[in-house]
Symmetry: C2
Subunit: 249 residues, 2 copies
Amino acid sequence: MPTVSSEELAAAAGVNSAKLRKDFSYLGSYGTRGVGYDVEYLVYQISRELGLTQDWPVVIVGIGNLGHALANYGGFASRGFRVAALLDADPNVVGSTAAGLPVRHMDELESIVESQHVSIGVITTPPGAAQQVCDRLVEAGVTSILNFAPTVLTVPDGVDVRKVDLSIELQILAFHEQRKAGEEPDRTESVLDRAPGPVRAAAAKLRRAAGGNGKGRGTAEAVAKDQAEQGKGKPAKGGDGDLSAVMPA
Amino acid sequence: MPTVSSEELAAAAGVNSAKLRKDFSYLGSYGTRGVGYDVEYLVYQISRELGLTQDWPVVIVGIGNLGHALANYGGFASRGFRVAALLDADPNVVGSTAAGLPVRHMDELESIVESQHVSIGVITTPPGAAQQVCDRLVEAGVTSILNFAPTVLTVPDGVDVRKVDLSIELQILAFHEQRKAGEEPDRTESVLDRAPGPVRAAAAKLRRAAGGNGKGRGTAEAVAKDQAEQGKGKPAKGGDGDLSAVMPA
DNA sequence: TAGATTGTTAATCGATTAACAATC
DNA sequence: TAGATTGTTAATCGATTAACAATC
């Protein structure tokens, strides 16, 4: 189809057509009244605004399983990302190939970034090496970093960092899964929408029973008791009152 | 510190303290007026609400580089996820080990899901196999699926699917990178906030020049012309007027 | 010209936050 | 009791959407 109306696009996207038109208007006036939007032209304008029409050389540092997986990821090339180099510190890995590219030694980082004008770096190293690699990337001129290592990176102003935590999505699924299991009957509203009356009452009672001094002792007991009390409402499978075994690291 | 106030927590998180208190209130009344929140108790209550205190067995299907990387990912175990099994269809992969676990054949999928009460499946197969794997997981009883394959999955009602696109974050970085390069001078507002007057005018002119019939022809020319005209404003590096070379797949 | 559809204004809705009574 | 801080109400702010003049 050569043209499309805001109404059609909005229906396809599941949003309000006024919102869609307003959003498009931030990019400019690319529609034609009485006609709609020229599809090819609109796609191009949006792509350009998002930076998809540019070529973005990237370096991937740390060629373990994840580095390998990313080097092979088809979605990169189709979105304008070009792997300028794969880098690793391990002499056993350097020289091997991944996704048809040779793995080069970290020593070449600076020369590659400079000669190929790399502004985006991807870090897939072990957590301990991430900050050091980050520092070298930034020093060499990289101004955007995608961090897959479970490390919080410190960077100077002007450098963007995005951190990918592969378990976040899994946590979101688990959250919904828990709710599915929780209560089959009335499913419409969220746990977070209803006032958790019984839980609240129990918690208040427990805190009072625990002494109410808020000084932190007696809490483990309160938790254990709390788990016992709400046993039927929300069966906390595997819960044994030992907090440390259950908390995120 | 045994207790913390909403003011302290809000400052640490960079949000408003009233919002923080209101959000917490959806979980119940876990604070104490005049004192604050008992840290240990609060952490436990939030963890429980998010499902972090439960044990979640998961299966990973497709043990390529990404499957390997996920199996080894330390963040899973610490958040209550336990890899119940690694599965692959390739006889050359079956029998090998990843993250200390044996890779088992797809044939065992159903029995593993049932015997271990697996409700969450992770798909790291090639795109062509993803839907088929998804169908088998759902049929076996899995009700939440995390999909890393670049395939849109169809599932029955009651099954949750989340799709992870590893290049999305890279695209966000590229978007900001483009803006950094765009205009050093006034940096405060977003490209999307200012009215793109010149671009708009040029586009209108071009559409008129292209015939204004909206029938889709003449657009490629219009784009080429548009690129030429805005040459100095936003140097579209690597742009050569060939749309197909530049569009997302 | 009549019909269609954009781009934008004004009205509505929902989310954030200031303020404060409750209470530790 | 006086001071501190929660939980919640009411006011404010911003985002969404209905409506419509502009115009193809």
